[in-house]
């Protein structure tokens, strides 16, 4: 396996695990499975999906810390597919983490949302 990890990616994963959503799911997970609310398989799928989402979103957020970027720029820096980047950016817009700051040629510029 080609190991492509770098400090940024591990930091993104650390940020993902530090977030309430994952901490809660992992912490409460086995209790829920034991209570019968969830099956073990469904729980595992849920954890994998959530880790994937949170990690990708934190990785994308890192790219935005030094200024607004387009989908293409983020896709190039993270080696993620542009449609995946867009999908996660839309989710981050919904949860008020990211907003559209302007346009650059025919692309929108995304930036961290300030409060």
């Amino acid at each position: 396996m080609k190991e492509t990890a770098d400090l940024q990616r591990v930091q993104a994963m650390a940020d993902a695990f530090a977030d309430e959503r994952l901490r809660w799911l992992i912490g409460k997970g086995d209790v829920l499975v034991q209570n019968g609310e969830l099956t073990q398989e469904k729980f595992k799928d849920l954890i994998t999906k959530t880790i994937h989402e949170e990690y990708t979103r934190n990785y994308i957020m890192q790219q935005l810390t030094d200024g607004p970027k387009t989908v293409a720029a983020i896709a190039k820096a993270t080696q993620l597919e542009p449609d995946r980047v867009l999908w996660n950016l839309l989710a981050m817009m919904k949860w008020n983490k990211v907003e559209i700051a302007g346009e650059q040629k025919r692309e929108y510029l995304y930036t961290v949302k300030e409060f």
Binding site: M1, K2, E3, T4, A5, D6, L7, R9, V10, Q11, A12, M13, A14, A16, F17, A18, L22, I26, G27, G29, D30, K44, I47, T48, I51, H52, Y55
Partner: protein, 174 residues
């Protein structure tokens, strides 16, 4: 003699079973590699995923989490949490770009000194084959690390290449 790669492994160890096992290994004079840095915690359930990731960020080549067998936890449910966290982390390893074998979970009881030592030995061997972690810059992160290539050949080629590169680097800096 040129140095071969010596992995830096962090071993989170629970105070009751696995640290007892480690102690027993020591008392019984069992020989095992010295690459593991043991960090003693009261329970393996104390190990937070962020600690494991911090270890990798600081350049650890491998991380082990060791604890009591399932059902034998001193705090009854601690190691169930460890299992869940380890499962989550091992899914995360591939996503980040680290080889999943760099993270290992080992259950060892206080009387299983040999098993603990074997666990450390195995881990060291696995990490030696995998090479240094891409985060600590001791190896060449871009080079693909074949899983089961003959380790001696790898080490030899690295030994030969390393001094050359060092010389080149030294030359460039000046």
């Amino acid at each position: 003699m040129s140095k071969s790669f010596e992995p830096n492994i962090v071993a989170f160890t629970c105070n009751w079973c696995s640290y007892g096992g480690a102690d027993l290994a020591g008392i019984s004079r069992i020989q095992y590699p010295t690459n593991a840095k043991v960090i003693r915690l009261m329970c393996s359930g104390r190990v937070d995923p962020s600690m494991v990731l911090q270890a990798f960020k600081n350049g650890a080549d491998g991380v082990m989490i060791t604890g009591c067998h399932i059902g034998d936890c001193h705090y009854s449910t601690g190691n169930y949490r460890t299992q869940v966290r380890y499962d989550a982390l091992s899914t995360a390893m591939d996503m980040m770009g680290l080889h999943p074998d760099r993270l290992r979970l080992l259950w060892a009881s206080a009387s299983e000194g040999q098993q603990w030592a074997d666990g450390i030995t195995e881990m060291t061997q696995i990490i030696k084959k995998l090479g240094p972690s891409p985060l600590n810059g001791r190896g060449k992160p871009k080079k693909a690390t074949p899983k089961k290539a003959a380790p001696k050949k790898e080490a030899v080629s690295k030994k030969k290449a390393a001094p050359k590169k060092a010389a080149k680097k030294g030359g460039a800096k000046k």
